[in-house]
Symmetry: C2
Subunit: 164 residues, 2 copies
Amino acid sequence: MQLLGIDPGCRYAGYGVIRTEGSMIYLVEHGLLKLSPTQSLVQRVAAFHDFFSEKITIHKVTDIALETPFLGKNAQNFLKLGYLRGIVYLLSHKHAITLHEFSPTEVKQALTGYGSASKEQVARVLYQLFPRIPPFEREDVSDALAVTLCGLWRGNQNRLIGLR
Amino acid sequence: MQLLGIDPGCRYAGYGVIRTEGSMIYLVEHGLLKLSPTQSLVQRVAAFHDFFSEKITIHKVTDIALETPFLGKNAQNFLKLGYLRGIVYLLSHKHAITLHEFSPTEVKQALTGYGSASKEQVARVLYQLFPRIPPFEREDVSDALAVTLCGLWRGNQNRLIGLR
Protein backbone atom coordinates (compact mmCIF):
# COMPACT_ATOMS: atom_id res chain seq x y z
CA MET A 1 0.00 0.00 0.00
CA GLN A 2 1.40 3.37 -1.05
CA LEU A 3 -0.81 6.10 0.36
CA LEU A 4 -0.84 9.77 -0.63
CA GLY A 5 -2.63 12.23 1.64
CA ILE A 6 -3.35 15.74 0.38
CA ASP A 7 -4.54 18.87 2.13
CA PRO A 8 -5.38 20.93 -0.96
CA GLY A 9 -5.19 24.70 -1.15
CA CYS A 10 -4.78 27.32 -3.89
CA ARG A 11 -1.84 28.89 -2.03
CA TYR A 12 -0.38 25.99 -0.02
CA ALA A 13 -1.10 22.30 -0.52
CA GLY A 14 0.35 19.93 2.06
CA TYR A 15 1.00 16.30 1.23
CA GLY A 16 2.45 13.12 2.64
CA VAL A 17 3.30 9.73 1.17
CA ILE A 18 3.35 6.66 3.40
CA ARG A 19 4.34 3.14 2.39
CA THR A 20 3.53 -0.05 4.27
CA GLU A 21 5.70 -3.14 4.13
CA GLY A 22 4.52 -5.99 6.30
CA SER A 23 3.98 -4.55 9.76
CA MET A 24 6.14 -1.51 9.12
CA ILE A 25 5.12 1.89 7.83
CA TYR A 26 7.53 4.31 6.21
CA LEU A 27 7.14 8.03 5.75
CA VAL A 28 8.35 8.21 2.16
CA GLU A 29 7.96 11.93 1.60
CA HIS A 30 6.08 14.90 2.94
CA GLY A 31 6.05 18.54 2.00
CA LEU A 32 4.31 21.60 0.76
CA LEU A 33 3.37 22.62 -2.75
CA LYS A 34 3.48 26.41 -2.91
CA LEU A 35 1.33 28.01 -5.58
CA SER A 36 2.17 31.60 -6.41
CA PRO A 37 -0.67 34.10 -5.87
CA THR A 38 0.68 36.05 -8.85
CA GLN A 39 -0.29 33.14 -11.10
CA SER A 40 -3.82 32.83 -12.47
CA LEU A 41 -6.11 30.23 -10.99
CA VAL A 42 -5.95 28.34 -14.29
CA GLN A 43 -2.15 28.12 -13.98
CA ARG A 44 -2.35 27.04 -10.34
CA VAL A 45 -4.94 24.33 -11.01
CA ALA A 46 -2.69 23.00 -13.78
CA ALA A 47 0.42 23.19 -11.56
CA PHE A 48 -1.45 21.30 -8.81
CA HIS A 49 -2.44 18.63 -11.37
CA ASP A 50 1.06 18.23 -12.75
CA PHE A 51 2.70 18.14 -9.32
CA PHE A 52 0.48 15.38 -7.94
CA SER A 53 0.37 13.49 -11.21
CA GLU A 54 4.16 13.22 -10.94
CA LYS A 55 4.09 12.23 -7.24
CA ILE A 56 1.55 9.50 -8.04
CA THR A 57 3.72 8.11 -10.81
CA ILE A 58 7.03 8.33 -8.92
CA HIS A 59 5.67 6.70 -5.77
CA LYS A 60 3.30 4.24 -7.49
CA VAL A 61 0.48 5.51 -5.28
CA THR A 62 -2.34 3.00 -4.68
CA ASP A 63 -4.56 5.07 -2.36
CA ILE A 64 -5.33 8.74 -1.82
CA ALA A 65 -6.78 10.20 1.38
CA LEU A 66 -8.59 13.54 1.58
CA GLU A 67 -10.40 15.36 4.35
CA THR A 68 -14.03 16.33 3.72
CA PRO A 69 -14.18 20.10 3.45
CA PHE A 70 -16.77 22.23 5.17
CA LEU A 71 -18.12 25.53 4.00
CA GLY A 72 -16.35 28.28 5.93
CA LYS A 73 -16.87 32.00 5.85
CA ASN A 74 -15.65 32.41 2.32
CA ALA A 75 -17.80 30.64 -0.30
CA GLN A 76 -15.35 31.50 -3.10
CA ASN A 77 -12.48 29.76 -1.26
CA PHE A 78 -14.74 26.75 -0.76
CA LEU A 79 -15.45 26.70 -4.50
CA LYS A 80 -11.74 26.97 -5.35
CA LEU A 81 -11.05 24.06 -3.01
CA GLY A 82 -13.56 22.21 -5.17
CA TYR A 83 -11.40 22.93 -8.26
CA LEU A 84 -8.43 21.17 -6.65
CA ARG A 85 -10.52 18.30 -5.33
CA GLY A 86 -11.89 17.79 -8.85
CA ILE A 87 -8.30 17.41 -10.02
CA VAL A 88 -7.65 14.80 -7.31
CA TYR A 89 -10.77 12.93 -8.42
CA LEU A 90 -9.57 12.98 -12.01
CA LEU A 91 -6.09 11.76 -11.06
CA SER A 92 -7.49 8.95 -8.92
CA HIS A 93 -9.57 7.77 -11.91
CA LYS A 94 -6.74 8.06 -14.44
CA HIS A 95 -4.33 6.11 -12.23
CA ALA A 96 -6.94 3.62 -10.88
CA ILE A 97 -6.31 4.79 -7.32
CA THR A 98 -8.72 4.18 -4.42
CA LEU A 99 -9.93 7.49 -2.98
CA HIS A 100 -10.69 7.74 0.75
CA GLU A 101 -12.45 10.65 2.35
CA PHE A 102 -12.64 11.35 6.07
CA SER A 103 -14.31 14.05 8.09
CA PRO A 104 -12.03 16.17 10.31
CA THR A 105 -13.55 14.38 13.32
CA GLU A 106 -12.67 10.95 11.89
CA VAL A 107 -9.08 12.07 11.28
CA LYS A 108 -8.66 13.39 14.83
CA GLN A 109 -10.38 10.29 16.25
CA ALA A 110 -8.07 8.00 14.27
CA LEU A 111 -4.92 9.80 15.35
CA THR A 112 -5.58 10.74 18.94
CA GLY A 113 -8.60 8.61 19.88
CA TYR A 114 -10.52 11.84 20.46
CA GLY A 115 -12.65 13.45 17.73
CA SER A 116 -12.35 16.97 19.15
CA ALA A 117 -8.57 16.88 19.58
CA SER A 118 -6.64 20.11 18.94
CA LYS A 119 -4.18 20.59 16.06
CA GLU A 120 -1.37 20.43 18.66
CA GLN A 121 -2.52 17.03 19.92
CA VAL A 122 -2.60 15.72 16.37
CA ALA A 123 0.89 17.11 15.68
CA ARG A 124 2.19 15.49 18.88
CA VAL A 125 1.04 12.06 17.66
CA LEU A 126 2.76 12.68 14.33
CA TYR A 127 6.05 13.59 16.04
CA GLN A 128 5.77 10.47 18.21
CA LEU A 129 5.26 8.25 15.18
CA PHE A 130 7.99 9.89 13.14
CA PRO A 131 10.46 11.28 15.70
CA ARG A 132 13.08 12.24 13.15
CA ILE A 133 10.98 14.69 11.14
CA PRO A 134 11.76 18.40 11.62
CA PRO A 135 8.97 20.77 12.73
CA PHE A 136 6.29 21.12 10.08
CA GLU A 137 6.67 24.17 7.86
CA ARG A 138 2.92 24.80 7.93
CA GLU A 139 -0.21 23.18 9.34
CA ASP A 140 -1.10 22.12 5.79
CA VAL A 141 1.70 19.52 6.00
CA SER A 142 0.68 18.06 9.38
CA ASP A 143 -2.97 18.05 8.26
CA ALA A 144 -1.98 16.12 5.15
CA LEU A 145 0.08 13.62 7.14
CA ALA A 146 -2.78 13.18 9.60
CA VAL A 147 -5.26 12.31 6.85
CA THR A 148 -2.68 9.98 5.24
CA LEU A 149 -2.30 8.08 8.50
CA CYS A 150 -6.06 8.04 8.99
CA GLY A 151 -6.38 6.42 5.56
CA LEU A 152 -3.86 3.78 6.57
CA TRP A 153 -5.33 3.23 10.01
CA ARG A 154 -8.86 2.81 8.83
CA GLY A 155 -7.97 0.52 5.95
CA ASN A 156 -5.34 -1.37 7.85
CA GLN A 157 -5.97 -1.10 11.57
CA ASN A 158 -4.04 -4.11 12.87
CA ARG A 159 -0.82 -3.28 11.14
CA LEU A 160 -0.70 0.20 12.52
CA ILE A 161 -1.38 -1.06 16.02
CA GLY A 162 1.56 -3.40 15.43
CA LEU A 163 3.79 -0.46 14.59
CA ARG A 164 2.99 1.51 17.71
CA MET B 1 -12.79 31.99 -33.03
CA GLN B 2 -14.23 28.67 -31.92
CA LEU B 3 -16.06 29.16 -28.66
CA LEU B 4 -17.24 26.45 -26.26
CA GLY B 5 -19.75 27.39 -23.57
CA ILE B 6 -20.41 24.98 -20.71
CA ASP B 7 -23.06 24.89 -18.02
CA PRO B 8 -21.48 22.24 -15.77
CA GLY B 9 -23.42 19.87 -13.57
CA CYS B 10 -22.80 16.45 -12.01
CA ARG B 11 -26.03 15.12 -13.51
CA TYR B 12 -26.54 17.24 -16.65
CA ALA B 13 -23.94 19.43 -18.32
CA GLY B 14 -25.16 21.62 -21.16
CA TYR B 15 -22.77 22.84 -23.82
CA GLY B 16 -22.66 24.79 -27.05
CA VAL B 17 -19.98 25.37 -29.69
CA ILE B 18 -20.09 28.49 -31.83
CA ARG B 19 -17.76 29.37 -34.69
CA THR B 20 -17.24 32.79 -36.21
CA GLU B 21 -16.20 33.32 -39.83
CA GLY B 22 -15.98 36.92 -40.87
CA SER B 23 -19.27 38.53 -39.90
CA MET B 24 -21.10 35.21 -39.62
CA ILE B 25 -21.59 33.02 -36.61
CA TYR B 26 -22.39 29.32 -36.84
CA LEU B 27 -23.88 27.11 -34.20
CA VAL B 28 -21.57 24.13 -34.66
CA GLU B 29 -23.00 21.87 -32.00
CA HIS B 30 -25.01 21.99 -28.83
CA GLY B 31 -26.24 19.34 -26.47
CA LEU B 32 -26.33 17.73 -23.10
CA LEU B 33 -23.82 15.47 -21.39
CA LYS B 34 -25.77 13.15 -19.12
CA LEU B 35 -23.85 11.72 -16.17
CA SER B 36 -25.40 8.71 -14.52
CA PRO B 37 -26.23 9.11 -10.82
CA THR B 38 -25.38 5.43 -10.38
CA GLN B 39 -21.76 6.23 -11.20
CA SER B 40 -19.39 7.45 -8.51
CA LEU B 41 -18.40 11.10 -8.49
CA VAL B 42 -14.86 10.05 -9.44
CA GLN B 43 -16.24 8.33 -12.57
CA ARG B 44 -18.42 11.31 -13.43
CA VAL B 45 -15.62 13.83 -13.02
CA ALA B 46 -13.47 11.68 -15.32
CA ALA B 47 -16.32 11.28 -17.86
CA PHE B 48 -16.82 15.07 -17.84
CA HIS B 49 -13.09 15.56 -18.45
CA ASP B 50 -12.93 13.06 -21.30
CA PHE B 51 -16.10 14.35 -22.99
CA PHE B 52 -14.98 17.98 -23.10
CA SER B 53 -11.38 17.10 -23.85
CA GLU B 54 -12.66 15.41 -27.01
CA LYS B 55 -14.99 18.30 -27.93
CA ILE B 56 -12.10 20.75 -27.55
CA THR B 57 -9.89 18.68 -29.83
CA ILE B 58 -12.56 17.95 -32.46
CA HIS B 59 -13.71 21.56 -32.72
CA LYS B 60 -10.28 23.17 -32.21
CA VAL B 61 -11.78 25.31 -29.47
CA THR B 62 -9.98 28.64 -28.88
CA ASP B 63 -12.16 30.07 -26.09
CA ILE B 64 -14.30 28.69 -23.28
CA ALA B 65 -17.12 30.61 -21.57
CA LEU B 66 -18.46 29.79 -18.11
CA GLU B 67 -20.99 31.41 -15.85
CA THR B 68 -19.86 32.41 -12.35
CA PRO B 69 -21.61 30.16 -9.86
CA PHE B 70 -23.23 31.40 -6.70
CA LEU B 71 -23.65 29.49 -3.48
CA GLY B 72 -27.21 28.16 -3.36
CA LYS B 73 -28.98 26.25 -0.64
CA ASN B 74 -26.81 23.17 -1.01
CA ALA B 75 -23.13 23.71 -0.16
CA GLN B 76 -22.20 20.18 -1.27
CA ASN B 77 -23.64 20.78 -4.75
CA PHE B 78 -21.70 24.03 -4.90
CA LEU B 79 -18.52 22.14 -4.01
CA LYS B 80 -19.20 19.47 -6.66
CA LEU B 81 -19.71 22.21 -9.22
CA GLY B 82 -16.21 23.28 -8.21
CA TYR B 83 -14.89 19.81 -9.14
CA LEU B 84 -16.17 20.23 -12.70
CA ARG B 85 -14.98 23.81 -12.97
CA GLY B 86 -11.52 22.66 -11.88
CA ILE B 87 -11.57 20.23 -14.79
CA VAL B 88 -12.51 23.05 -17.18
CA TYR B 89 -9.63 25.13 -15.79
CA LEU B 90 -7.24 22.22 -16.33
CA LEU B 91 -8.46 21.66 -19.89
CA SER B 92 -8.17 25.33 -20.77
CA HIS B 93 -4.55 25.29 -19.58
CA LYS B 94 -3.64 22.05 -21.35
CA HIS B 95 -5.10 23.24 -24.66
CA ALA B 96 -3.96 26.89 -24.31
CA ILE B 97 -7.56 28.10 -24.42
CA THR B 98 -8.73 31.51 -23.19
CA LEU B 99 -11.22 31.16 -20.36
CA HIS B 100 -14.02 33.72 -19.98
CA GLU B 101 -16.27 33.99 -16.97
CA PHE B 102 -19.47 36.00 -16.76
CA SER B 103 -21.95 36.59 -13.98
CA PRO B 104 -25.56 35.51 -14.66
CA THR B 105 -26.46 39.21 -14.89
CA GLU B 106 -23.79 39.82 -17.54
CA VAL B 107 -25.09 36.89 -19.59
CA LYS B 108 -28.69 38.10 -19.47
CA GLN B 109 -27.58 41.68 -20.18
CA ALA B 110 -25.56 40.55 -23.19
CA LEU B 111 -28.39 38.49 -24.66
CA THR B 112 -31.49 40.53 -23.91
CA GLY B 113 -30.10 43.95 -22.95
CA TYR B 114 -31.64 43.46 -19.53
CA GLY B 115 -29.68 41.99 -16.60
CA SER B 116 -32.77 40.69 -14.81
CA ALA B 117 -34.29 38.99 -17.86
CA SER B 118 -36.15 35.70 -17.31
CA LYS B 119 -34.97 32.33 -18.63
CA GLU B 120 -37.82 32.53 -21.18
CA GLN B 121 -36.61 35.89 -22.50
CA VAL B 122 -33.10 34.48 -22.89
CA ALA B 123 -34.45 31.38 -24.68
CA ARG B 124 -36.50 33.61 -27.02
CA VAL B 125 -33.34 35.44 -28.11
CA LEU B 126 -31.62 32.09 -28.76
CA TYR B 127 -34.52 30.87 -30.93
CA GLN B 128 -34.45 34.18 -32.84
CA LEU B 129 -30.73 33.84 -33.53
CA PHE B 130 -30.93 30.17 -34.46
CA PRO B 131 -34.47 29.64 -35.77
CA ARG B 132 -33.85 26.10 -36.97
CA ILE B 133 -32.92 24.56 -33.61
CA PRO B 134 -35.51 22.31 -31.97
CA PRO B 135 -36.75 23.12 -28.44
CA PHE B 136 -33.99 22.71 -25.86
CA GLU B 137 -34.01 19.39 -24.06
CA ARG B 138 -33.17 21.09 -20.77
CA GLU B 139 -32.39 24.56 -19.45
CA ASP B 140 -28.76 23.45 -19.05
CA VAL B 141 -28.45 23.57 -22.85
CA SER B 142 -29.98 27.03 -23.32
CA ASP B 143 -27.91 28.31 -20.36
CA ALA B 144 -24.76 26.96 -22.00
CA LEU B 145 -25.64 28.53 -25.36
CA ALA B 146 -26.41 31.83 -23.64
CA VAL B 147 -23.00 31.98 -21.98
CA THR B 148 -21.33 30.93 -25.26
CA LEU B 149 -22.99 33.84 -27.07
CA CYS B 150 -22.12 36.17 -24.21
CA GLY B 151 -18.47 35.17 -24.63
CA LEU B 152 -18.66 35.96 -28.33
CA TRP B 153 -20.57 39.19 -27.84
CA ARG B 154 -18.29 40.61 -25.24
CA GLY B 155 -15.11 39.69 -27.07
CA ASN B 156 -16.42 40.51 -30.48
CA GLN B 157 -19.26 42.97 -30.18
CA ASN B 158 -19.31 44.49 -33.69
CA ARG B 159 -19.48 41.20 -35.50
CA LEU B 160 -22.42 39.99 -33.55
CA ILE B 161 -24.26 43.27 -34.11
CA GLY B 162 -23.52 42.76 -37.81
CA LEU B 163 -25.13 39.35 -37.69
CA ARG B 164 -28.33 40.51 -36.12
